[in-house]
């Protein structure tokens, strides 16, 4: 009797061919994106999303074409950060048109489709089992975003990753081996311990890690115009990665994020020079790891 491998084809289901075709369409759709940059951590609440938007602003200020894909489907922030909560996706000539902020940064976020305070619900034909399929469905949606948005010609597509150490490798697989990673932490041992796990997990991949950013490294006091400490100065956890920079907690920056402020507003804040420096370090590191970056 014949076995599975004695029979050519896939029995008519065409499932494998559809998955392959989808991968090919994603590669084609991203062919004009020069750099994929994933901003992750593993830990939640460290400022990945705000840092992603701020880095996008810093890159935009340098004249780069930048878009953000909010890969956090369950806690999407980028629409609010970009002031695009009232926008829906509309069809363009080559997929859905990417909404842009007034600063010209493209933003694709579930928050434009699902208004606050609603939560994204992952429906399942297998009643009561949506938890079983959540991850698969999430990645299907992300593949559809990569495939179905008109990303166009970009210097940088920043991907704002959700928390979860185990998932960081899955995002690396989704984005492919050329996607570069930047990790965000806060100075606490708790956060650094989780980020250390993410670094270890990413070692399973060939994806370059540009470095890490220490967010909320102190508190910017508006009264005395000085940065005061928030965490103990010494940490027992050291990363074998370049530190791309530090950013103190700045109430003015937090307010700016909440209202979805513009690049023009951002560039008036005390944190702006630090953000620009982080972006410059990031680009320098990217150029070191991918020497032909400018010619890609």
């Amino acid at each position: 009797m014949k076995g599975y491998y004695d029979i050519s084809g896939d029995g008519g289901s065409n499932v494998l061919a559809q998955v392959d075709a989808q991968q090919a369409r994603i590669a084609q759709n991203l062919s004009l994106v020069r750099n994929l940059l994933a901003i992750g951590s593993g830990k939640g609440g460290v400022g990945k999303s705000t840092m992603t938007m701020q880095l996008a602003c810093a890159l935009r200020r340098q004249g780069y074409a930048v878009s953000i894909m909010d890969a956090d489907l369950n806690g999407p922030c980028q629409a609010r950060l970009g002031g695009l909560r009232e926008t829906i996706l509309l069809p363009g000539a080559s997929g859905a048109t990417v909404p842009t902020t007034e600063s010209g940064i493209g933003v694709v976020s579930m928050a434009t489709l699902v208004p606050e305070p609603r939560a994204v619900e992952f429906e399942s034909v297998a009643t009561g089992s949506s938890h079983t399929w959540r991850a698969t469905k999430e990645f299907t949606i992300l593949r559809e975003l990569l495939e179905g948005m008109d990303w166009g010609k970009l210097d940088y597509l920043l991907v704002d990753l959700p928390p979860g150490v185990e998932r960081i490798v899955q995002y690396a697989e989704l984005l492919g081996p050329t996607a570069m990673f930047v990790l965000v932490t806060i100075p606490s041992e708790l956060s650094k311990g989780v980020v250390a796990r993410s670094i270890e997990a990413l070692k399973q991949t060939s994806n370059p890690i540009l470095g890490y950013i220490e967010n909320m490294d102190g508190y910017f006091c508006q009264d005395c115009q000085r940065v005061k400490p928030l965490y103990p100065a010494q940490s027992s956890i050291q990363f074998e990665l370049p530190r791309l920079g530090t950013l103190p907690f700045d109430p003015a920056l937090a307010a700016h994020c909440d209202r979805g402020g513009s690049l023009a507003d951002l560039s008036t804040l005390p944190s702006w020079p630090l953000l620009q420096r982080i972006a410059e370090e990031m680009l320098k590191r990217a150029a070191e790891l991918t020497p032909s970056e400018e010619t890609r």
């Binding site: 029979i7 050519s8 008519g12 926008t87 829906i88 509309l90 034909v125 698969t136 179905g148």
Partner: protein
Amino acid sequence: MKFLCVSCDEAMKLMEVAPPDRGSLSVVYRCPTCAQEIAMLTNPFETQVVSSLGVQIGADSDPMDGESRCPFSSMVPELGAPGEESSPELRWSPEASSRLANMPEFARPLAKAGIEKFAKERGLGEIDLGVLDGARKSMGM
């Protein structure tokens, strides 16, 4: 998944996929030699395995038609959007329909609702590429 006609030792051919019924798919296979037919009846978990990949059993490799995979479809009525059904008084030109079909599937119901609302507010009877451009411009795109 492949099916073998044991008596003929021949691979069976997929003949028909019936629309899902309460999460179950009926897929008919026939032996090309003896014409014996069998039906694979999936349980909802088995159906979900395939649907979660964003593909359909027996579909063409170029998808974009068939059952919605919209994870937000239950919200569409609450958002004042008509979902996949078009308003009867509005026609979609083939070109405009094609552009809609190139969007991520989960985003289509809301896009369709938004465009139809835009067209109705302007007393338009057909949605063509010009209307799509107008809708995008009205949203600053």
